[in-house]
Structure formats: structure tokens, C-alpha cells
């Protein structure tokens, strides 16, 4: 993984000193609340229901065991013994004290981490495929370009006060596992007819209040121009994005207002002038320098199949069930990637205790070259495990509640912190997730239902990505009471689509029944091997509506 040199170290240390001084001036009354807010936000610090919330950047989701141990230490020393992994591959602490945050940032700096630009109206943490570097369908490893983007976007002086937050995702494989269609900028690595590597540039996608699938603004951008082109997009957005209404300030609204052709024309015109002889054109030397940090691990040469693994699969039904869901193919023979689930029923999705973090750090050291990844589905991934170690790893993970065999299944719920923690929430989300998980605790049934993404957000900000859940649940406020709106048919990936709302919203206590009725309709209607979301696409929303609300006529009057 990328290791800091003296420049990176100096920059992060200077940031800690700067923020320490800003916090001191705020506490001394020299900075007003309004002045301090954007400064603390650009260091990931929100003021939440109970205490400040601190979001720490995990660049493109990659962590070393040493970094994870530090995150565990911070959870123990400065929080209540846990952290929450987010859908943008970061980690959040819910209980730090404002006065202590400069010290937390100093601890993070010791392990080459920070909280820079994890919030605020600036360019946020770059996200990518959690199988980067090991996926079989990869064109190039996206992490070197992601790191180059990270450095370019860090403290970019022109783009620190944008109209609104700005999220960039980068995908290096055929299959999109970074949701490039749903970001302010999505970059999808492609090869053109002459075999050159470049980027398909997508702009103006996003979730939130106005969910939109992004538009392709450029089919093929030579990778060396990644920064000059992003700069052109950002400059047009910074100058012309709306600033009068925060709900209309994202780039997607500008793209919609101008139309993609006109927006593209402006960007191309800006780029045409700005790119000439630009020193920001990426050099091969720089690419190679960064790429050297992401060399393949020192793999052993192993046979594709391991006899002891095959035997264990045959011997243990619970092991094979876990392997079926939580073990993923790897491009090297004899290796696999493993998802350690943070979705055990009764635990808020994405939460990990300090002890679990320490434990996972040990597992990473023992089984996966001391590295791990955070997935946008809020799980942890060991990317490089020998197949012959899988059984031992499974037993160890089980002992810590990290082996729930539900990746891709209904109970692998993606869920934001919601009303229990977040001051923006309309409704709680964690108890809904738990009630649904309890309802679907029969593993055989769960496996029979098959792959299903269920996402829950506590408000329109959509941190739980409910728009792209096969089933999406959104907390809404109805005269001060918490209600839930349900949509179906959303999906992520190359065919990303936004879900359709099925009808009037429900009380919290109805939610397990509502999901059960959606599943019953699916089971009744599905063709063999058809996924829930494919059935929705084939037969439409109406039968599901009828299944949930009863008679279709009544729905019309509801």
C-alpha cells in the first residue's frame, strides 16, 4: 500500500498543528461558530446528537493492520470502545470530545492517516473497488490513480469552498464495484480500440434528495489527463453551481439545468485551454512511483484447489455456507478474498468494537499480508488469503462474531447511523435493520431467497444508499412521527438503476412484515434462478404493491 514519504508526513503534521490552533482559537472565542464550522468539517468533525462525530479517511478503503490497531486504540481511549465503518469506506467515531480531536488527529498521523476533507463542501475521500488489485476482471489496478487523485485533491486551493460536497469514485475493472454512475465524478478505466488505457468520465450522478444516474461526459480520456480534466469539471462547477439553495447545489443539478451537452461543451472548452502544456499532466515516472506501492503481494505458487479446503467444504455445512457467501475468487491460483461480516444480527451494521478491530488486525497479519479493505457495504475484507487457511480463518472469525454467512443476502443490510446518532435524521435506521434481520434469521430460507441488497437511510441524504437497494428503505417524518418509505428495483453496478417507491409509507413496527410480503410476492412470481431485482424488472412494481397493500384499488385511494 502507499507509504508516506517526508512530504506526506510533513503535510499531515502541519495539518494537525493548524487544526490544533483553530480549535484553540475557537475555544478561546476568537472564532465564531459560523467561522469554525467549515474548518472543523474539513477535518471530518460534525456536531451530532450526543457529541461531535469524527470521520476518519480511509483512502480508497485500504488499511494496514498497524493502522487498524491505531483505530482500535482511538476507539478505546477517545470513544466508547467502537467505531462505525461507512458506505464511503471510512470510519466514524460517535463519542469523541472536541478538545481531544487534535490529539486524535496526531495519533492518526503516526500511522499515516488523517481526517482531511472527510466532510464539508470540498472534494471528499476517493473511493474505489474493494477488490482492487486482486479481481480477475481488472483492466488496471485503480489504486495508483486513486492515490494520485487523493494527493491532487488534498488542500486544492481553488476547490476548498465548493457549492456542495464533491465525491469521486474510480473503478479499474470491467464490473463496476465503485458505483461510478452515482458519484459527482465517476472514472471507469477502459481500453480503447488501439489498446490504450484511459478513463470513461461520468459526471453528475448521485443519490440524496434528487437521485440521478450520471451521464458520460467523455468516452475516452487518456489517463495522463485525469487531473487536468477533473480540474476543468471542478472549475465549471465552482463558478456556476448553485449556491442559493443547498438542495440544488450538487453538480448533478447544474448538469441537469444546462443539459449534459452544454455542460460538456463548457468543460471541454475550459479543458482545451487549461490542459495546454499543463504541468498537471501525469508523468509515467509519477505513475510508476505510486504504482510501485501497490505491487502484487509476495504470493506463493499454489495449486488452484487445496485438498484440505475441499475436504472441509464437504465436512461442514456451516463452513461451506460461509464459503459460498463470504469467500470471493482471486486472480492468483490457490488464493481467495474473504469478507469478514460486520452484519451480525443485534449489532448496528458496520460497527466494530476495539477488540474486534485488534482481532482483525491479527488475522490480517496472519493470513493476508497485514492488509485489509473496508467495503462500501460496510464489511471488512481480507483480500489475499491462501485457500488452505480458509477453514482456520473461518473458525477464528466465528469466535468474534465476524463470520455471519450473509454477504449478498438480505440480512447483509447496508444502513446509516440514522436517528440514534445522526442529527440530520428523520427516523431511526438501526432498529429497523435489526428487526428485519431477526425476521429473516433462518439461514436456509435466506439462502433460498438468494442475492438481495437491502439498504436503509435515515433521511434523504441517503448515506445508506437506499436508492440503489433492491429493496430501499427511507426514513421520513410525518407530523413528527417516524415513518418509512419503501422502494424496490434499485441496483448498483454497470446497470445501476434507482428504485421506485411502492406507495405510502409505513410505521416502524410494520417494516418486517412489509419486507416479508415483498419476498412472498417474489417467491411466488420468480422464474428459476431469477434474482429478486430481476423479477421486479420483469413484472414491474404493481404485483409487489398488491402484495404489500392488498387490493390494488385500495392503494389508489391511500
Amino acid at each position: 500500500m502507499y507509504r508516506y514519504d517526508s512530504y506526506d508526513h510533513a503535510l499531515v503534521a502541519e495539518r494537525v498543528a493548524q487544526f490544533r490552533d483553530q480549535t484553540r482559537r475557537y475555544l478561546a472565542g476568537e472564532l465564531t461558530d459560523d467561522e469554525f464550522r467549515p474548518l472543523r468539517l474539513q477535518n471530518g468533525l460534525y456536531i451530532q446528537r450526543h457529541a461531535p462525530m469524527l470521520r476518519v479517511a480511509v483512502p480508497y478503503g485500504l488499511l494496514s493492520s498497524r493502522q487498524l490497531r491505531m483505530l482500535a486504540h482511538i476507539a478505546r481511549k477517545h470513544d466508547r470502545g467502537y467505531g462505525h465503518f461507512t458506505t464511503r469506506q471510512n470510519i466514524q467515531y460517535n463519542w469523541p470530545r472536541l478538545e481531544e480531536t487534535p490529539d486524535i488527529l496526531a495519533l492518526l498521523a503516526e500511522v499515516e492517516m488523517h481526517a482531511i476533507q472527510t466532510s464539508g463542501n470540498c472534494i471528499r475521500n476517493i473511493t474505489t473497488d474493494h477488490f482492487a488489485g486482486v479481481a480477475a476482471d481488472e483492466i488496471i489496478d485503480p489504486r495508483p490513480l486513486a492515490e494520485i487523485l487523493r494527493q491532487w485533491s488534498t488542500f486544492h486551493p481553488e476547490f476548498a469552498y465548493l457549492p456542495r460536497k464533491f465525491k469521486i469514485a474510480l473503478n479499474g475493472a470491467e464490473a463496476d464495484r465503485a458505483a461510478v454512475l452515482l458519484h459527482d465524478i465517476g472514472l471507469h478505466v477502459i481500453r480503447n480500440a488501439s489498446g490504450e488505457t484511459g478513463l470513461r468520465v461520468i459526471v453528475g450522478g448521485g443519490m440524496g434528495r434528487t437521485p440521478i444516474v450520471g451521464h458520460v461526459i467523455r468516452e475516452f480520456l487518456p489517463w495522463r489527463h485525469m487531473l487536468t480534466y477533473c480540474e476543468a469539471i471542478l472549475r465549471v462547477y465552482n463558478r456556476y453551481g448553485r449556491r442559493d439553495n443547498i438542495y440544488k447545489a450538487r453538480i448533478k443539478i447544474l448538469v441537469k439545468a444546462l443539459g449534459i451537452e452544454e455542460f460538456a461543451r463548457q468543460v471541454e472548452a475550459e479543458w482545451e485551454i487549461a490542459r495546454k502544456d499543463s504541468p498537471a499532466i501525469i508523468t509515467q515516472e509519477e505513475f510508476d512511483r505510486v504504482a510501485a506501492h501497490f505491487e502484487p503481494q509476495a504470493y506463493e505458487s499454489l495449486p488452484e484447489m487445496d485438498a484440505s479446503y475441499v475436504q472441509s467444504l464437504a465436512d461442514s455445512r456451516s463452513f461451506s455456507r460461509w464459503a459460498e457467501r463470504n469467500v470471493h475468487p482471486h486472480r492468483r491460483a490457490g488464493y481467495a478474498s474473504v469478507t469478514l461480516s460486520l452484519k451480525k444480527t443485534g449489532v448496528p451494521p458496520g460497527d466494530a468494537t476495539d477488540a474486534q478491530m485488534d482481532f482483525v488486525a491479527d488475522l490480517a497479519d496472519r493470513y493476508s499480508f497485514g492488509e485489509l479493505r473496508v467495503s462500501h457495504e460496510q464489511n471488512l475484507i481480507l483480500a489475499d488469503v491462501r485457500k488452505r487457511d480458509l477453514f482456520a480463518l473461518w473458525q477464528a472469525a466465528k469466535s468474534q462474531g465476524l463470520a455471519t454467512p450473509n454477504v449478498g443476502l438480505l440480512t447483509n443490510i447496508v444502513c446509516c447511523p440514522g436517528g440514534d446518532f445522526c442529527s440530520l435524521a428523520n427516523a431511526k435506521s438501526i432498529p429497523i435493520a435489526e428487526a428485519i434481520q431477526r425476521r429473516f434469521d433462518d439461514l436456509d430460507y435466506l439462502h433460498d431467497i438468494g442475492e438481495l441488497d437491502l439498504n436503509i437511510s435515515g433521511c434523504m441524504n441517503s448515506c445508506g444508499h437506499h436508492h440503489i437497494g433492491h429493496i430501499g428503505i427511507l426514513g421520513v417524518d410525518k407530523q413528527g412521527a417516524e415513518f418509512y418509505q419503501v422502494s424496490i428495483g434499485g441496483r448498483q453496478g454497470n446497470q445501476a438503476a434507482l428504485g421506485q417507491v411502492i406507495g405510502p409509507s409505513f410505521a416502524a413496527s410494520d417494516m418486517p412484515d412489509v419486507v416479508a410480503k415483498l419476498i412472498d410476492t417474489y417467491i411466488g412470481e420468480r422464474h428459476e434462478d431469477e434474482l429478486f431485482v430481476d423479477t421486479v424488472q420483469r413484472i414491474g412494481v404493481a404485483p409487489f404493491k398488491a402484495g404489500v397493500y392488498g387490493n390494488a384499488k385500495e392503494v389508489a385511494h391511500a
Binding site: L11, R15, L31, Q151, F155, H156, A160, P279, T283, E286
Partner: protein, 174 residues
Amino acid sequence: MPERVIRGRRVENDVWQAIGQPHGDATQPLPQGPVLVPLAYWREHRDLLAARRQPIGVWLAPADDPAAIADDLGRFSVVAIHFPKFTDGRGYSTAALLRTRYGYRGELRAFGDVGRDQLFYLARCGFDSFKLAPHHDPEAALASFTDFSVRYQGSVDDPVPLFRKRAVAGRIAR
């Protein structure tokens, strides 16, 4: 007491008076001495302003397009950019365009809701003159210009990104 301004990393008395929103009434006769006029005023009264034989400056609001003064830049002693709120970042792009695309070399001033925590970025985008909001102490603010010794990306102050310097340093080390 005269108003203070940071110029060339020093605090000085400010000799400029801004007229028009937000600091005055454009319908009144101009005061004596150097004045900063809004873009619309410049467009309407450029001959009158030239006849005054006093240093003249123009100030731009966030939505003003710097292209509108591209041909007149030689006539201004100061171009100022107004920040009604420090969170409105349009002025950073305006400044960068003035310096790079339109080649403006004279004094480029930030004024309005400007505080010390913006100085580092403002200076990088080409500002060299800063009139802080009244409750900010300009002397204390000078320290913020050196908040960072490392800059990853190029900008107006130094267009060469760090990666090109790393490459040079690496070659020297080898």
C-alpha cells in the same frame, strides 16, 4: 484609525476606498483619492474615471466574469474580489483565471468576509492583498501564510505539482 490591509505579507494602512455595494452608494460623487469601483460602474463611467487622473481599481462580485475586464487590465492599479461569505468559493476561480488566462500582474485583493484561515488558499490562487473582516487581527493572521510547507498540486503561486519535484529530488538522490 485608518483601515489596515495585508500587502506583500506586511500590514499597511489602506489608501483605497471601495464604492458601490456593499460599501457605499454608487450614485454619490466619488471621494478623493484612489477608489475601487464595481464592475458595472467601470463599464458605465470609464471615461469619467480615466479623466480623474487618480489610481483606479475595480472590484468583482462572485458572479462577475473576469473576462469582462480582460482587455482593461492594464488600466487598473488594483483588481479586488469580494467575498460576501467566506464559504462562497467562486472568487478563488476568478483569481486563478485573472492570473493565468488573462495575465493580470498587478495587485489582486480579497476583501469582505475574509479571515486568516482562508489566507493560505487565497495566496495560492494568486491574491497578494488581503483586507480581512474587521474582527480579524491582520498582524496575527500573517502566520497563516506558512501553515503548510508542502503543496501537492500546482496552482497560481507555483504551477508545478509536487510529483514533478519529487521526480527531480529522486533523480538527484540517485
